[in-house]
């Protein structure tokens, strides 16, 4: 298992990692590089990669528990069962064509949104707060359903990702049908 925290600093991820006491590598991705490479638009997102470095199950919201199932509607059980079957027996849910059919590939506006986010983050770290804010806002306009941008930018901008700003965002996400990726059947 490889976990990657899309957080603005290792210190933001540390409480989670220390609570988990993992035996696997726990990485931090402050620049959202992984999000860009894999087309990640929300967390949690799980991807299965086989021994040859091939994607064998594409981006999917994979929860460890059902703690927030009423918010996101995705039960944890089926994926965990499938994951165990793969690890223990090598059972794969789809062939390559099946994986491709279930991939969510990035669109041009989403990549532009990522560039705007990266510019915003760069400016913010150099104290250009007002300029950074313009680009965070622009990124969110370009990819309104990319929560790595809209919610992920909140801690940087001094907004509470669990509070008021998120409440409005969650309603918007809910009304859009709680989109994540191409739905993978369970």
């Amino acid at each position: 298992m490889l976990t990657v925290a899309l957080d603005k600093s290792p210190e933001d991820a540390r409480p989670w990692v220390e609570a988990a006491k993992p035996t696997h590598p726990s990485l931090v991705d402050t620049e959202h590089r992984l999000a860009d490479l894999y087309g990640i638009v929300n967390v949690p997102t799980g991807v299965w990669i086989d021994e040859r470095g091939r994607i064998v199950r594409p981006n999917d919201p994979t929860f460890g528990t059902d703690t927030f199932v009423e918010m996101h509607g995705i039960r944890s059980g089926p994926h965990l069962d499938a994951l165990r079957a793969w690890v223990r027996s090598g059972t794969l849910p789809f062939d390559e064509a099946g994986v491709r059919r279930r991939q969510t590939l990035p669109a041009p506006e989403e990549q532009l949104a990522r560039a705007e986010f990266a510019l915003a983050w760069h400016l913010h770290r150099r104290g250009r707060i007002e300029a950074a804010e313009r680009h965070f806002v622009r990124a969110g306009e370009l990819a309104p359903l990319d929560l790595t941008i809209r919610r992920g930018s909140m801690p940087i901008r001094g907004l509470d990702p669990m509070g008021e700003p998120f409440v409005a965002l969650y309603q918007e996400w809910l009304q859009s049908g709680r989109p994540y990726y191409v739905a993978i059947e369970r």
């Binding site: 990657v4 490479l37 991807v47 299965w48 994979t62 990549q111 990522r114 760069h122 300029a131």
Partner: protein, 170 residues
């Protein structure tokens, strides 16, 4: 946090001169060109390039574009290595002030986030390139640090099944 210098208003293009910068007679409608260093970040890698700023258009010196990105203007078009993108019909792409950065980005299919007033731009990776990589089903390699700052590359785990999980404190 105290600002180190005042931030320009959003509609400013940068330092403006009351007079044109050349001594030759100019039309009253000529735009003053500000020349300055641009921080151009190429997919996370920063470069300082020479640029000209006028009317929201940012032009980069061709030699800087070549040094930083490997793209060069030739008679065949905009070329890098064996690959050339035709530039017929792109008369405004190159002037004496340099190569139009936004047009260059569009031609090489890369998203450009530009803040002329802040003299900073970020050139990302286009959807076409990302989508092609993902559709190949080859998991894109990456190197990221753990909490102790030690780098880990995905490719170092070849030979094992990987469940890659992205999460966040938010």
């Amino acid at each position: 946090m105290r600002q180190l210098r005042p931030e320009p208003a959003p509609d400013e293009a940068g330092p403006r001169c009351a007079l044109p910068l050349t001594s030759a007679p100019r039309s009253p409608y000529a735009t003053a060109v500000a020349r300055d260093t641009l921080t151009l970040i190429d997919d996370g890698r920063p470069h300082e390039v020479t640029a000209a700023f006028a009317d929201g258009v940012v032009r980069v010196a061709p030699e800087d574009l070549r040094t930083a990105f490997g793209w060069e203007l030739k008679p065949e078009g905009l070329c890098r290595g064996a690959r050339c993108i035709p530039t017929r019909g792109e008369e405004a792409l190159v002037t004496a002030d340099g190569i139009d950065l936004a047009r260059f980005a569009a031609l090489v299919d890369r998203p450009l986030a530009l803040d002329a007033a802040e003299r900073t731009a970020y050139l990302g990776v286009g959807a076409g390139e990302r989508a092609a990589q993902l559709a190949s089903l080859e998991a894109p390699d990456f190197t990221l640090p753990d909490l102790d700052g030690r780098p880990h590359a995905l490719s170092a785990y070849r030979g094992k099944k990987i469940f890659l999980l992205a999460y966040a404190s938010w």
